[in-house]
Assembly symmetry: C2
Homo-oligomer: 705 residues x 2
């Protein structure tokens, strides 16, 4: 049965009503024995059916010779048999109409071609039978509240994670278990975890979509290598965003070396990292670059306090650490806004030696007068900060002293439920737990706390962004601007763009010198003249572009020069004609582009022309189509953005004309994705505000018919 | 007595032969009582003299009414009395001729003007008496092997740091203690620690110099806000480098907000952070941006294994975590070089499913066959990697299994004493200690391990750099190229630069039109003509520059045009003449500069011209003078460096001519530091290789006479 709910196919793996273990072992330390032991340890309440033709009972449970022999419903079948026995096991599961098949076994596409072929047969079998399949080569799944510990890994047994608000999904099995173990060590509460292994069928995206609808899940950590279906991934992250669940992504295979290892590790397509990075920005997903960072941010999100703005207050007992935190916050783009004069004066009145500006440095003096914490903290919060860091360093070492301080911390935190409080201290687990209970996120290192606050601020902005980030630009009815397999010359390309709303300057393509002179009357001087030929891609390299044509005589000379140069450089080239175009003065040269990424789909690119794009690769990307707001974000993202604002007395450029062109180009990219291989509008010149922006050259490569 | 050894004045504070505590208290929990208790707890072996006129004994020790009443030598006097009693206490110390006075007391320059004045009086007194002074407003000093715990802070009492190879110096007292506590929590071994507080006399640099000569110190962590004498700091870091002791600097006040807080926190001059950052690169000092990072790197350095190269081998039981580590290593600029074919084949022969390229993924299979670790690890090390990371994730959770693995890890590590081994595992303290004993640095998070490896590689390079980084360019005898208070016009500035070896193109400054025409015969066409006036700084803005002068007639017209424009735009300007100069085609425009920084001294700047410098601030700095090697490093540091190598078919620029000019400009900056306020050579055009590089314009601002 197909289910229209996104992520519904992940349900049997995360909330199964009953579980069969195919390849069950009586030895509870063997891979086929562990899941039974773990499920019972975790308190799984549904029926557990060991499947093993050689036994009548296993670990005290009735054992069945086959899945089909089980009397009741089998919702989840865990397959833990050698690779060559997996196919018949899945056949039995299909016959039994189980909800999902979870395959621990390895030896498939991650190993060799024979394994890949076998994997494909198994997946086809499962799909035809309407059975969802997880793995193969995965490390299982986990749900604290359901008592689900469907794994063979012994890593988390010492300390199974406690119930909480964080869900994790990882393509790599060992990676997923590692995160679980680490979460356990850090006393983080978890809701669900799923590892997808070779993700031959159910993938990270489906698990993410399921978790995005789990009422117990407040935040989702994702570790992913590749995307079998990027659209599905985008839908899942958008679903999470609509449900106000922060998503943090750690992508493996960023570097060339890493991407190479991904290929040997699984059969994933890694895709270009620069594009992926930009698409995460587009969809307001937080990207982590280490396991530690992912868990830090997930921890902060799980506390259900969300900063209302990006202003950070700092209360410190050490001037030095306060300055460090201010430095780190500034580097992260948080606003360490100065406290207004009145609360500053109030702080000074209480403690003349205090620094009151923000950081507020109450000095070690606070240790002699703990009740002073309350008014000091309150005065600091008068700054209207969305979050704050209290830097109390190693004071919890003096337990008696810190115990006396806690009630004041609690009073303050209880008065500001919308504020995100961080306590930066060296504290043992018990003290951390106490601080968390009274409303503080606890971090050792201020730098890591600030990274987490930055992410919280971004998430709030993301949740407040318009509901429809993805299909922000409405696509026109019908297709057919670009024809697959067609060859367009520069003039045709610009005409095509003009029909899509991306303007060029007045220009005509003429086939004889008299027409060229006649055209000047309509276009006006100064002019550019260019050779137009579908066979000459790099006009300027053969001298095929003439600038600064000022009169009819120069037009005539230019016409002859261009024809002569074309004939000399490319005797066999078909010359369509000569382009006569208005020449523009000034403006900022930009580059707009469209490409079709094999993983990420239709991509629109923006960059600033010249040295910035050629030397610094100062470009950014979005998946098409985009809204005007997203185009504005894109434009502001490039390093050379100041050029568009006007530098050294230059006027500000017509950014709205640029925004309009980017949006319209993205619509072309999206509607014509089947016809276009790539498109370059280079240069696209942006004139001073009010004067518009124009394509000076364009190149369209279509896909083979 | 003055001592010529650098850092000798820090000796009484870190290795005192005897200690007096002025303001000693019988209450061992009071600030004046704690140092006595702590020194005895730490096992300080020298005499301890409590000073307090009201008592005969304190904490069981004979008490003296004054420092002068002590019979024996007082090497270190700790002063723990209210601010207003500090001056007479220091007077007594001077009378007693103590080695050093350490002042805990606050209420000086960090508070207000009166405090600053009092502090100055005390410092003058100490200096005139030949007594070194540490503080005021400092948290004390510490030396594990000397049993020195000269602090009032209770933070480290629970767990005083154990003896080891790390020394720390911190301007901020609470920051220093915080690092000590954290080091204790992480079981890091420490040699010495000093906090300098207001550093009115002995500063961070002197402590650093002393530690750089401590045979027990292997690595020094520095936390600093400002520099009373930057030369002294440079000398100290150079001394450490010569002694092969890595120095890691955490600078407070990087950001504007932070720097503002520094001023309120102490009386430090923060200096420009971009310059400081470049000077650390120049002197091969590692910069940390968080406490955690500083301690991670210090820990790695303390293990006395130094990677021989920047190649990193990765051995993993989890493909996913292996890829993550490869990504992080690539991002850090480490070389995750592929394993040669032969060891790859050997790995595959042992375990066909293994990934063998690097990362070497031995999969969870290794857990069923621990002895396989040894040959696998050995094959991986055949790649010639200077360091390696073994990613064994959460396996130590299974203690019995990991115990069986340890002997193989030990065997491998013992065979490669020059290799830096990292074990990335989630392990308890006991297992960490065991791994460290057999030669592994232990990290939880691969990202943090990789940051530390990067630092180790950089330190090795730094130790191998030529002994004399600082005075790399020999300074000429005598001074006097630039005259203080003088005003130079463009022509004079370029002539002055030419005398220093920085060439300009052929040019003459003429005072009449006939001379201009005559000059063309010597210079050759095409020409540039410019107005020359000490009163017109921005020539091009008034149309005072004419390009592309091709013949005598244009020279005559141009002369008249320039004179007319100058008269119109600046009727009162003194016009020295008209500059007639060869016009150059092509080349890469760069900017060379000199400035005199109030904190860091004579600074030379390099950047690429145009949008890179104007929009992206793509410039870098060095303290003058620099060697040719340093100039090359500087040039390679800017983001647009590829422009000099030649992009899009452009020829490579004459980098050696640029290097030569930068070195010579740095010599001018260093020798003329008393006369020059700033100098700009903009543009300095670098022609294709072999064709040289030339100053096209220059501006010198001299200091007021």
């Amino acid at each position: 049965m197909s289910n229209p709910m996104p992520g519904a196919r992940a349900r049997p793996f995360l909330n199964p009503r009953s579980i069969a273990i195919v390849g069950a072992s009586a030895d509870e330390n063997k891979i086929g024995g562990r899941p039974i032991r773990y499920l019972r340890l975790a308190g799984y309440a549904g029926p557990i059916y060991p499947i093993n033709p050689k036994r009548d009972t296993i670990q005290g449970l009735k054992c069945y010779p086959s899945v089909t022999a089980v009397d009741g419903e089998v919702d989840l079948a865990i397959i833990s048999v050698p690779a060559q026995e997996v196919l018949p096991a899945v056949e039995a599961c299909v016959a039994k109409r189980v909800g999902g098949v979870l395959i621990f076994s390895s030896g498939f596409s991650e190993v060799d071609e024979a394994g890949r072929v076998l994997q494909e047969r198994i997946v086809r079998l499962a799909r035809e039978g309407g059975v969802a399949l997880l793995g193969p080569n995965c490390a299982g799944t986990f749900n604290t509240r359901a008592g689900l510990l469907a794994t063979f890994s012994s890593g988390i047994l010492d300390k199974p994670p406690q119930a909480g608000a964080i869900s994790l999904v990882s393509q790599s099995g060992a990676f997923g278990i590692h995160m679980l173990v680490l979460a356990g060590e850090r006393d983080l509460g978890l809701s669900m975890c799923l590892t997808s292994g070779n993700q031959a069928d159910v993938d990270v995206a489906e698990a993410l979509a399921y978790m995005a609808q789990d009422p117990e899940t407040e935040v989702i950590g994702v570790c992913v290598e590749g995307f079998p279906d990027f659209d599905r991934f985008l839908s899942a992250i958008e679903l999470a965003r609509r449900n106000r669940k922060p998503v943090i992504v750690l992508k493996l295979g960023r570097s060339e070396v890493g991407a190479k290892a991904v290929v040997s590790h699984t059969a994933s397509i890694a895709g270009s990292d620069a594009i992926f990075d930009a698409l995460l920005r587009q969809h307001r997903v937080c990207r982590a670059h280490s396991i530690e960072e992912l868990l830090d941010i997930a921890y902060a999100c799980s506390l259900r306090r969300h900063p209302l703005n990006d202003k950070l207050g700092i209360l410190t007992v050490s001037g030095g650490i306060g300055i460090l935190a201010a430095d780190q916050a500034s580097a992260a783009g948080l606003d360490v806004a100065e406290l207004p004069a009145q609360p500053q004066a109030a702080i000074k009145a209480l403690l003349p030696f205090a620094a009151a500006g923000n950081p507020v440095d109450v000095t070690a003096q606070i240790t002699t007068d703990p009740p002073m914490i309350e008014p000091m903290f309150e005065h600091m919060l008068a700054g209207g900060y969305g979050s704050s860091i209290a830097l109390f360093t190693y004071l919890p070492r003096n337990k008696a002293l810190f115990d006396r301080m806690l009630p004041y911390f609690e009073t303050v935190a209880s008065r500001y439920p919308g504020h995100f409080f961080v306590m930066c201290v060296l504290a043992d687990k018990e003290m951390r737990a106490r601080l968390e209970r009274i409303g503080y996120a606890v971090f050792d290192d201020p730098g890591r706390a600030i990274r987490a606050i930055r992410a919280l601020v971004d998430f709030r902005e993301s949740f407040e962004a318009s509901a429809a980030l993805r299909n922000a630009a409405s696509l026109p009815e019908g297709k057919g601007i670009v024809e697959r397999g067609a060859v367009y010359d520069e003039f045709q390309a610009k005409q095509l763009l003009a029909r899509a709303g991306i303007p060029a300057l007045p220009e005509e393509c003429v086939a004889c010198v008299d027409d060229a002179v006649a055209a000047t009357a309509r276009i006006g001087y100064p002019l550019v003249m260019k050779i137009v030929s579908p066979d000459i891609q790099h006009k300027s390299e053969i001298g095929g572009v003439l600038l600064g044509i000022e009169d009819a005589e120069q037009v005539r000379q230019g016409y002859a020069t261009l024809m002569r140069r074309a004939a000399a450089a490319a005797p066999d080239a078909r010359v369509t004609g000569i382009l006569v175009a208005r020449q523009v003065q000034g403006g900022v040269e930009t580059i707009l582009g469209v490409s079709r990424d094999p993983v990420y789909g239709p991509i629109v690119m923006f960059g600033l022309g010249g040295v910035l794009v050629e030397v610094l690769k100062d470009v950014t990307f979005r998946r098409a189509p985009i809204s005007p707001d997203e185009a504005r974000r894109m434009i502001r993202e490039v390093k050379g953005y100041a050029l568009l604002q006007g530098v050294r007395g230059a006027p500000a450029a017509d950014q709205e004309a640029l925004v309009d062109a980017l949006v319209k180009l993205s619509v072309v990219a999206a509607t014509e994705v089947d016809a276009i291989e790539s498109m370059d509008v280079n240069p696209f010149v942006v004139l001073p505000a009010g004067n518009g922006a124009f394509a000076l050259d364009a190149l369209i490569e279509t896909r083979h018919a």
